[in-house]
Assembly symmetry: C2
Homo-oligomer: 378 residues x 2
Amino acid sequence: MNNFSFELIREDTETDARAGLIHTPHGDVPTPVFAPVGTQATVKTLTPADLQALQASLILSNTYHLYLRPGPDLIAEFGGLHQFMGWPGPILTDSGGFQVFSLKGLREVDEDGVTFRSHLDGATHRFTPEKVIAIQEQLGADIIMAFDECAEPDDYDYNMAALGRTHHWAERCLLAHKRADQALYGIIQGGIFSDLRLKSAEFLINLDFPGYAIGGLSVGESKTEMHTILEILHPILPRHKPRYLMGVGSPEDLFECVARGVDQFDCVLPTRVARNGAVFTNQGRINLRNAKYARRHDPIEIGCTCYTCSHFSMAYLRHLIKANEILGLHLATIHNVHFMLETMRCIRHSILEGTFTAYKEEFLSHYQPVPKAMQGNG
Amino acid sequence: MNNFSFELIREDTETDARAGLIHTPHGDVPTPVFAPVGTQATVKTLTPADLQALQASLILSNTYHLYLRPGPDLIAEFGGLHQFMGWPGPILTDSGGFQVFSLKGLREVDEDGVTFRSHLDGATHRFTPEKVIAIQEQLGADIIMAFDECAEPDDYDYNMAALGRTHHWAERCLLAHKRADQALYGIIQGGIFSDLRLKSAEFLINLDFPGYAIGGLSVGESKTEMHTILEILHPILPRHKPRYLMGVGSPEDLFECVARGVDQFDCVLPTRVARNGAVFTNQGRINLRNAKYARRHDPIEIGCTCYTCSHFSMAYLRHLIKANEILGLHLATIHNVHFMLETMRCIRHSILEGTFTAYKEEFLSHYQPVPKAMQGNG
């Protein structure tokens, strides 16, 4: 079996951008990479054949959701998540920490773990580091995550206390993890506080994880605060290990965070906004529900090679979405996932060619980001 | 342009079953044929590529729905329905009569046409024979329908009065229809009453339509009543013209009605029940939500060649449906449409081979129909 390894292929000379290759038992992942999210063992609306046509090289699935439904025992009985969902390529599972700590009022943390109530039926469950590793071993993803505590980004005292638990849990996760065919990443926490982030990185680097995730960002802090943390971490993170910025991001985030040394991303954005009729273009995000697209013969993006843009007008897509047709959500999802994956492929290509800065400037010169206040509106 | 024609290839010797070929400007339709329904310019959850992979040869779309949204002017501006929805194969549009007469309390009929209120926004609209033909010419389907009045099947006086209008409207439709690349079918009405059905068939046969639809069945009458009407009509309908039984049917209906001379079918059943988690098997319809499928490693039907059965376990499909994932509806739809189309292909093959009766008996010996009282439950 071809176990996990990371190959650093080229470092940009003008920025901290890196191009590499993650080898996994289920195939190679060219980095930087954007992973579409398949929360419930499906990237919403897409078949595995669709994902292959989109050339997705890595997808993410959520431990918390799969633990509750259909349960890790059932997935293990089917040989793991790859077989269960029919996806032959690399998979990453998160630790469930982010979801559990999002259950405000439904969870209680102690030094040993977290007791929480299911958002589905209110039943009580408990996650410990050992439990979370056992679940992820049952799911069988190629890349798995240590159990961590996600604190509010701007509460120093809480972040300091949570960091102690996160670090202790990271040690326990390492001890508990037995499957040699899975790479267990440590998760750096510490909110928006440079000293805590550095302390967290140093502690986890000493534990020698095969990869490092940066958690607790893109949860309400400013873009500048997020960028500052990345800039602080870059020089101390091991050069020959992948860095994964969890839950990020938008098209503009890919450029800014790749420029600050990030190799891996995941985000629900392209799939979630598609289900509200919003699609990415090189000029920014547009919503197909808008009346001005009702008679448009052109595709979402002229020149886009995705199935949606190759076959359908904006007028047809708008009709489907206005008529609440599932096909509209499917076609918008295909386009958005293609947009993210293709943009990332272009980013990687530009790093390899030594033209990343020029490509970044060119892209950001015409791409209009969604104002922060409107980001939830799809 | 290859205009419409019907080629009768073989008549069964033991039943009234027929195998033929409908030629249309957008391709040939082997008959008997089952047409999946694409009400709002999409067969729900399926892309045109999916329909091509399923080898669908004819799809239906609804004049009433497309008239209201996005409107025939817009579709005409895009070159017609084929271009608008990206479906290159044959399309049939209904006349809107069935939908308009289903709008109980929202419509008023007179000798000239029907005034009705939109189910979307309550706005008042009017359909006349000329209007319905004009809309269908704008949509540009290969096979279009005369405007008819659908009466309650067991109300003799109403059926007799409605029949007068339907016949007068059929004449007006013929006069109004100009596009030589479309085949306009007449619709035989008359409820469950043999004398009215015969009278309707005779009247419409004299008008020399290129095909005949049988409307107002499968709307609450018994199977026996439906079969009786078909048996009465068979001997008088022109041998060399296609017969289309509208809105039918279930897998067992295909066999029983093909045996009574029907060449064309359409029904929302396979797509509608799929969205409730119900799928066809050779033993009958099952619902994947049932707990007994939670750990089933086998596909819906062993040996089924559809994408769903080739790739996914019942356990995975059940998980998707229980988790309200769109992919579950999509995969169930693919299987159900495949089941109907493949069953019809086998029926046609058996007619050509002279083994239809044996195939019918074999299929019906293991296929358990859904009891009438439960047919709405998916």
